[in-house]
């Protein structure tokens, strides 16, 4: 698509070539070659599409992402309800910047001879391709018409559960900050019951007419949170966003989203809660941080929910730059299981020879004997396949699950029903998997992938149920690492702080 610019009522405006005013004879050019455009005047008396308003408010989308005809979109532009902005800009230093994902690494831009804009070198961003290609000839569309308005009279929290003392302290802290601009870290151990901690704060924000987003790295967490929130906030428009979701409730006031989906939002939320707990092996990388910061309004409150905050976050918390509140104790009040280190020799070499370390085999057979289920974490998918094959040959009820496993859901279900005794895995499974009488072991705990925070999260998978609060956590290793020692210290520190 190519555009023309024209001058009307003292403003520089743009139109797709096919929709240009009849008296404009300027040659069409790719969008990025247009002069600087003025925001069009808003004609408040003209009707606008409420559907488009709901779809586009607080977002930054390309034409391809908008399921509306071009002429309808452009009419809203001419009426001042939306603006066109460049998808890829050039910064002062002459480098490209993607306006959607913030990418500014030269190697992640490329170009091609473009059938749409007819440029021989149409530059595009390779970083955020998964969400649809943004190239220099792609304008992004922003809503600038009337704001969305929700019926807040119907907002009420329908939940009569109890909060523990530690949960309540965190909840109160969050409630007191609603309406403020800034950040708050809720540092909660795995199994602290952190969703409930959010309820009152979210209620206050919704009642004040704020738009709220809960962001988590994982789709399965979105799917788990949706029904819970629908139940406790029945009067609220609620939407779940994840890759492949078919969004129906456009313009919802409360949004539960994977962190990735936030790239599509701009200055949308008054309250954003970023949940990064139990995220291993997903991590909160820099571009996701960018996505979160772009998605919130300038004066929003940003709440981090973490069991294992980054070094940077811990430092700014201890220096007092980042307000924080700790929940050092689990919901059931029992301490976190402290990992034990068990030397298992050169397990990789053994695997190559088709054998497992004998103490790992002993652990599996012990679990089966005492009828306790178990997670066995391994550092790679390759190791997973080897270990599963070897265990299956000797024991019943063994299953392997990795992050991209297409049968993941079925296998998790089997584990939950007790049909599978030991799950060998490379990833933290769904949070719903809190089966009592479950222990945790890690094979190759010395591997780089097992960082302090990964190990803390893994250890946090055991002892989650009040019926069985004292799970066992074993780190089978071939040389202890700082990460292992730090993880153990981290857990002991939390227990000490909780005076357990």
């Amino acid at each position: 698509m190519r555009f023309v610019s024209f001058f009307a009522d003292g403003k520089t405006l743009a139109a797709p070539d096919a929709l240009k005013p009849p008296d404009v004879s300027a040659a069409p050019v790719p969008f990025y070659k247009l002069p600087v455009l003025d925001p069009p005047d808003f004609f408040g008396h003209l009707p606008f599409s409420h559907e488009l308003q709901a779809f586009l408010s607080g977002k930054l989308l390309s034409f391809d992402e908008l399921p509306y005809p071009m002429d309808m979109i452009h009419e809203h532009y001419l009426h001042g309800c939306l603006t066109y902005v460049k998808g890829i800009a050039v910064d002062v230093g002459g480098s490209f910047v993607c306006k959607r994902c913030g990418n500014d690494k030269p190697r992640l831009f490329a170009s091609f001879s473009c059938f749409r804009c007819k440029e021989t070198e149409c530059v595009y961003c390779r970083k955020c391709l998964v969400m649809g290609r943004i190239s220099r000839c792609t304008p992004l569309v922003r809503w600038c018409g009337p704001q969305l308005d929700w019926r807040v009279d119907d907002v009420a929290l329908e939940w009569d559960g109890d909060l523990s003392a530690a949960q309540k302290k965190a909840s109160d802290q969050m409630v007191s900050r609603i309406g403020d601009e800034g950040e708050l870290l809720i540092w909660a151990v795995c199994g602290a019951g952190k969703t409930e901690v959010l309820f009152h704060g979210v209620e206050k924000a919704l009642k004040a007419g704020q738009r709220v987003c809960l962001a988590t790295p994982r789709t399965d967490v979105v799917l788990e949170l949706l029904p819970r929130l629908r139940k406790v906030f029945p009067g609220v428009t609620l939407a779940g966003l994840y890759g492949g979701s078919e969004e129906k409730s456009e313009g919802a006031q409360l949004i539960v989203s994977t962190t990735h989906q936030l790239y599509r939002f701009r200055e949308a939320f008054d309250l954003v809660v970023v949940d990064e707990v139990d995220a291993f092996p997903y991590s909160y990388d820099q571009s996701l941080e960018y996505a979160v910061h772009q998605a919130k309004k300038g004066n929003a409150l940003l709440v981090y929910l973490s069991a294992t905050p980054s070094r940077k976050m811990k430092k700014s918390a201890s220096l007092g730059h980042l307000a924080h509140v700790r929940i050092p104790v689990r919901f059931h009040g029992f301490p976190l299981p402290v990992p034990r280190f068990v030397w298992c020799g050169n397990w990789k070499k053994r695997l190559k020879k088709g054998r497992l370390p004998s103490n790992v085999v002993d652990w599996v057979s012990h679990q089966l004997e005492v009828k306790r289920q178990g997670f066995l974490f391994v550092p790679s998918v390759a190791a997973l396949h080897q270990v599963v094959a070897l265990l299956k040959a000797g024991f019943p009820g063994i299953e392997g699950v990795h992050a991209e496993d297409p049968e993941r859901k079925e296998k998790v279900m089997k584990f939950r029903k007790g049909e599978v005794s030991i799950v060998v895995t490379t990833t933290i499974l769904e949070r719903g998997v809190t089966v009592p009488f479950t222990d945790v072991a890690v094979l190759g705990a010395e591997e780089d992938i097992f960082t302090e925070s990964a190990l803390v999260q893994i250890a946090g998978r055991s002892g989650r149920s009040k019926d069985d609060p004292a799970g066992d956590v074993l780190f089978f290793h071939y040389g202890r690492t700082n990460a292992m020692v730090d993880a153990k210290r981290h857990i002991e520190g939390m227990n000490k702080e909780a005076e357990l």
Binding site: R107, L108, A110, S111, F112, S113, C114, F115, R116, C122, Y124, R126, L129, V130, G132, R133, S135
Partner: protein, 237 residues
């Protein structure tokens, strides 16, 4: 430090005497990705270029696979496609890569195949005019580019856009074999003056050879326009 064209992992070029002398080709993919490509080597079907090493003995007769034998039994299609040659086995890795190229629109990926494609062209198709398999206007606009055109452009030889797609793409693979063999609908038309095609040896370029039906549909248009011979070159088979 290089960065892998596919997974963006940083890696160091393997240093050997060729790279020291600046003779080595640029390495585009990291070690893990590179090892995921399965180059088609050894014995292949003399027509469609599929690797016989991956193919059960019972589905071939001498140097041809059964699929090709059936094409050649048909009066309409006999000899229409002289041969096809493909670089790699269309495995899961390459499927993902090609889907990122086409459906995500990551045009840059084609640059990882320049040397290899040029090599096969030199060996098998020297002197042939390159004709990219076309897309319909709708599909071309949607994608912003035609991947076959990008691949043809890597060869560094004359590229003629000799064929146009007049029927919008449907899922070719969903049709039955019978429907494919019959192929009564016209999908392609000659897009240039016959003189540019007449008497020429032509190599059609595309990303994947699957059933060979679409490529033959384009080939027959060129044949009718007087092309001497038509072959094809694809990234995957």
């Amino acid at each position: 430090m290089n960065y892998c064209l596919y997974c963006d992992k940083g890696f160091y070029d393997p240093v050997n005497w060729r790279s020291v002398l600046g003779l080595a080709d640029e390495v585009h993919f990291c070690e893990v990705c590179s090892s995921s490509f399965e180059r088609i080597q050894g014995e292949v079907c003399e027509i469609c270029g599929r690797s016989f090493s991956l193919f059960p003995e019972k589905y071939r007769q001498e140097n041809r696979c059964n699929d090709c034998l059936r094409w050649e039994e048909d009066d309409k299609w006999r000899g229409i496609l002289a041969k096809n040659r493909s670089l790699y086995v269309y495995n899961d890795f390459l499927k993902e890569l090609i889907s990122r190229l086409k459906y995500r629109g990551d045009a840059e990926l084609v640059n990882g195949f320049r040397q290899e494609l040029k090599g096969v062209y030199r060996q098998e198709f020297k002197g042939c005019v390159a004709v990219p398999m076309p897309l319909s206007r709708e599909r071309h606009y949607e994608r912003g580019f035609n991947q076959a055109q990008l691949l043809a452009g890597l060869l560094g030889v004359e590229v003629v856009h000799a064929v146009n797609r007049v029927l919008h793409e449907k899922k070719q693979s969903k049709k039955s074999r019978r429907e494919r063999l019959e192929m009564r609908e016209r999908i392609f038309m000659l897009g240039v003056d016959e003189e540019l095609v007449k008497g020429k040896s032509i190599v059609l370029v595309d990303d994947v050879y699957t059933t060979g039906a679409t490529i033959r549909q384009a080939a027959i248009v060129l044949k009718e326009a007087g092309a001497r011979s038509i072959a094809s070159l694809t990234l995957a088979r």
